[in-house]
Symmetry: C2
Subunit: 377 residues, 2 copies
């Protein structure tokens, strides 16, 4: 579906006649999008841009003949190519959007990093990584700046809830206009702040998703499931949920090449202790996949007790990587079922693949994450 | 200290002049106890009584010459011996208090199981295991019945909080009368319901402590720390916290005989997934030890990133065990520091040991869990 119709349709589902596209994006929950007339919805995940100062910021880990003239601008060019090729309905940036240490002005780095999504008029959502706050803005400052940018669905935090971190919110994707689920969210997107580093004495390493965030997530999921399976037009099973954050869970270490699609070329840099978010996702019951970044040269997806755990693979050029191993992005594609009346129904399947920043933007590792009616295991 | 003075002293710290011992125990937070003039406070932990119908309920896993005449009454006799020998200030029952499957009347089993503590006039607290609800009462029913019994500090749940499970509450232990911390809780006891079995499709095994319980625990800990380190008489570090529940955390599997005191004679029957409570205890920062039951023939204590994880070892005779390996109980002993004026100060150290149900009630495995001013690691 095209961008304009997306926003127009998004507005149709709001109760307030004064609602505008901007209102859809930034005021009053829920932030919502909608499946278009083509019956599909596509999400482009961009992980670890590590954007700093643009043209003057060099590339890391590229082949010798790629070094010259390579900069943050290559990262931006890759986003633009991906948008042209995939025509996504939403772009999700899963943290380390900027590399604060090397950024002279965090606000400016953020503006440049997200510019390709804004230029394309695409709705976009971002969460924080562990490097975003290393520059001239704090974590809260970065998230507040992001929320004020054009076209974003990002929010700092849910209102009226005490919660850890910055950037915990959800986005609802409504059914197609004219379908029985046109007033229901048929795909739910959850965004969480997985923190930066441990602040607990004696515990090193990366941060984690705290209990307060998990309670918010679980309550939100419970409510969305009640609404989806309640009157009017009660549906039989919960709408699929997809979760985006930065740092992998310890459970990402459950896989090897025998049971994942993609590659594992480095260790799983999760927190050194387990804060239980995988368990909370299982309890919620609607989550089909969780998508992270953080480990740039891991790009696999593996399924554990019904939930796919997926890396995107590193996207940014001013970020460690592996020379000769293309920067990449993950695409998620949800398609609607045909209803008996010939119109659209609820979600039939969710697939994923990756695209490489090579000459052909090669598509690799297509896999089905979920199909309606198939067992969880 | 004797039982009577304990209750009298507990009343002194309440603001309401109409407060009674019963009010201390069952109405309005906080439930509180107090260090007595002797400057110490002792907790007896009784794990896995598995009480059913009394005299007609046989013992399991005892030596051939112990079978005859052995019943639930041996469990009660062991509690009475322990109370006489140790003179605890509080008895904590950490679940599987009754063995519901074999109980004809759950309420009656509960009354009999806790009778020795009540007869002794001792304050006591209980949490649920995975067998308590198998009889004529549900989990909620068991906990509601327990809360109505004499002398108990148990509560169903904190008021005004949506929380999973039944039996999540805390108890404050105030400093000695006349000391600078006489109006402060110098030891905090947390009690949680670790559930029974997984209800998540595709996930087998035992239950776990949910995010909602962890948020309540963390908020309670945060508040107690603010009060302890705030005006009047601000203290320099948080009061030590001790946590009691039934099912071991996955982190209990972190130890071997090289780094624990006691024995591991069976696997760690934790939940099959990690719900993050160990992480939440670390975040809280005040917890020095967590005490569980569930695995009857493990009785070790091991220290992980500053928190001791301790089994009590099986107590009850109508429960699996190991013939010839005595039923046992864990004692925790907190002692106060001498203040400069010769009176009592805050807590100096917390020790633990076990007692065996042999002829001499042998004391074994004494170890220091925490000393004031020593590093967490």
């Amino acid at each position: 579906m095209d961008r304009l119709s997306l926003f127009v349709l998004a507005c149709l589902c709001l109760s307030s006649p004064a609602a505008t596209a901007a209102a859809v994006r930034r005021q009053g929950p829920p932030s919502s999008l909608r499946f278009g007339p083509s019956g599909d919805f596509k999400i482009l995940q961009v992980a670890d841009m590590h954007y700093a100062d643009g043209k003057s910021t060099p590339c890391e880990d590229v082949l010798p003949d790629q070094v010259r003239g390579c900069s943050d601008l290559n990262t931006s060019a890759f986003i633009r190519r991906m948008i042209r090729a995939e025509r996504p309905d939403l772009v999700v940036f899963t943290g380390d959007n900027i590399y604060g240490f090397d950024s002279a002005d965090a606000a400016r780095s953020l503006e440049s990093a997200f510019a390709p999504a804004m230029e394309a008029g695409l709705p976009w959502a971002a969460v924080l990584g562990n490097h975003d706050q290393e520059g001239t803005l704090s974590r809260e400052g970065v998230m507040r700046h992001v929320v004020g940018m054009g076209g974003t669905l990002s929010r700092v935090n849910p209102e009226g809830v005490e919660i850890d971190g910055y950037g915990n919110y959800h986005v609802e994707v409504y059914g197609a206009v004219g379908s029985v689920v046109s007033n229901k969210s048929v795909v739910n997107l959850y965004f969480l702040d997985s923190g930066d580093y441990s602040t607990v004495a004696g515990v090193g390493g990366y941060g984690w998703i705290k209990a307060s965030q998990q309670v918010w997530f679980k309550q939100t999921s419970d409510r969305l499931q009640r609404e989806y399976m309640g009157q009017p037009e009660p549906q039989k099973e919960p709408a699929p949920g997809l979760v985006y954050f930065h740092i992998p869970l310890p459970e990402f270490a459950s896989f090897d090449s025998s049971n994942f699609t993609g590659v594992r070329q480095e260790g799983i840099s999760s927190a050194s202790i387990n804060s239980g978010f995988f368990t909370t996702m299982l309890e919620a019951g609607d989550v089909k996949a969780a998508f992270v970044g953080h480990d740039h040269i891991n790009d696999f997806c593996g399924k554990l007790t019904g939930i796919h755990l997926c890396y995107a693979g590193g996207f940014g050029y001013h970020a460690y990587g592996k020379a000769g191993w293309s920067r990449r992005a993950r695409v998620v594609y949800a398609s609607l079922e045909k209803a008996n009346d010939g119109g659209w129904g609820d979600v039939k399947s969710i697939k994923t693949w990756k695209r490489l920043d090579d000459e052909k933007l090669s598509t690799i590792d297509m896999q089905v994450l979920w199909s309606k009616g198939s067992p969880g295991e």
